[in-house]
Symmetry: C2
Subunit: 194 residues, 2 copies
C-alpha cells in the first residue's frame, strides 16, 4: 500500500537522530526505548538494533552529530575574533534540541553515571570546552604560553555564558561575549586586549 | 495547658525564618502561605502579618539574614587569601537551606519577575557577587585598577564554582578554588600570582 518511501544513509540517520531527540523531549530519559524511537521514525526496530545497542547509544550519536566544531583561523591571526566566534557557536548550539538532551543526561548524572561519562567522551572527541580548541590552536603555534591553557582557563568562557543565562534568563549579547573575551579569557592567557 | 513558651525577638525571628524555609522545601514557592508558615512555627498568623505583608517578604528576609558578608583583610594585604576565603564562603552558603530558596526563586523567575527583582536587591545590599566586596576593597585602597573590576570580572569566581558544581556534581576543593583565583580572577585584575 505504498507507505513511506525507504530512506537510506544520511537521510535515514538524520531522521533517527530527530526521532530520538523528539522522543526524549516527550517521554524523558527514564522512559526512552528503541520501540518508541522506531515507532516515531516509522522504521523497524531491527534497523535501529543493527547500528546501536540501545536508545542511549543512539542518543549519544545524535548529540555527537550536532555538536559544533570550532574552526580557528588557520594562521592564528585573530585570537579575539576566534574566541568570540567560539562563544557564539556555544550560544547557537544551546538552542539546538541536543542541548536539552545534554541537560537531561547531566540532571540524571547521579542515577546514570555511565551515561554521563559516555557523554564526556563525546565532548572530549569534539574538543571539550567551547574556546578550548581555539586556545590550544594558538598555543600550538607559539602565540600563547601553553602552560596558561589550564582546565580552569578552558572553562572561563562557558562558565560566564552559563552564569549570565542563569542570572538573566537570557542569552548574552555579542557585546557581552566580547567583554567576556576581553576582560576574562584574554587576561588569563596573558594577552591584554588593545 | 502550658504549650509552647512564648518566644521573642531574635529567637522568634530565627524560628520564623526556619519555618518559611522548611515550608518552602515541602510545598514549593507556588503554594507558600502565611497560614502554612504560622502553623509550622506554632505562631498566630497575626504575628507574621505584623512584620511582613506576605510569605514572599518573610522568605526574602530569611534569605537576607543568612546571606554571608565577605570581610576582606582591613589592611588589604592578602588579596589571594581573601579571594579564596570569599569563594569558600560561597560554598558554605550553597549548603544552607536559603541557597535552595534562591534557586526556587530563580527557577520561577519568568512567572514571578517581581520576586526575582526583590531578590537581586537583597544581594545588592549584601555586596552582590562573592569576591566583589574583596575586589572593590582592594581597588578602593589603590591596590587594583578599579576600571578592571567590571561586572564580568565580578562574576568570574561564582561562574567557575557554579560550572564546576554542574559538571562534576561536586563542590570544588580548596585546591580548585585556589586555581580559580590564581588562573582566572587575579589575571583579570592585572595581578600575576607569584
Amino acid at each position: 500500500m505504498g507507505g513511506r518511501p525507504r530512506r537510506r544513509g544520511a537521510e535515514l540517520l538524520a531522521a533517527l537522530h530527530d526521532a530520538v531527540l523528539a522522543e526524549l523531549d516527550e517521554v524523558g530519559l527514564g522512559r526512552l526505548t528503541m520501540e518508541g524511537v522506531a515507532r516515531r521514525a516509522g522504521t523497524p526496530k531491527t534497523t535501529l538494533y543493527r547500528r546501536w545497542a540501545g536508545p542511549e547509544e543512539l542518543l549519544l550519536d545524535a548529540i555527537a552529530a550536532a555538536y559544533p566544531v570550532e574552526a580557528p583561523s588557520p594562521a592564528a591571526d585573530d585570537l579575539r575574533g576566534d574566541l568570540v566566534a567560539a562563544l557564539q557557536l556555544l550560544i547557537e548550539w544551546s538552542r539546538h534540541p541536543t542541548a536539552r538532551a545534554v541537560q537531561a543526561i547531566m540532571t540524571e548524572r547521579h542515577r546514570r553515571p555511565e551515561l554521563a561519562e559516555a557523554l564526556q567522551r563525546v565532548f572530549d572527541a569534539a574538543g571539550r570546552r567551547f574556546t578550548a580548541t581555539v586556545l590550544h590552536h594558538y598555543a600550538g603555534l607559539g602565540q600563547l604560553d601553553p602552560a596558561l591553557v589550564t582546565p580552569v582557563v578552558e572553562d572561563i568562557g562557558e562558565a560566564l555564558v552559563l552564569k549570565h543565562a542563569i542570572d538573566s534568563g537570557e542569552e548574552p549579547t555579542r557585546q557581552r561575549l566580547a567583554e567576556i573575551v576581553d576582560q576574562a579569557i584574554l587576561p588569563a592567557v596573558g594577552v591584554r586586549p588593545v
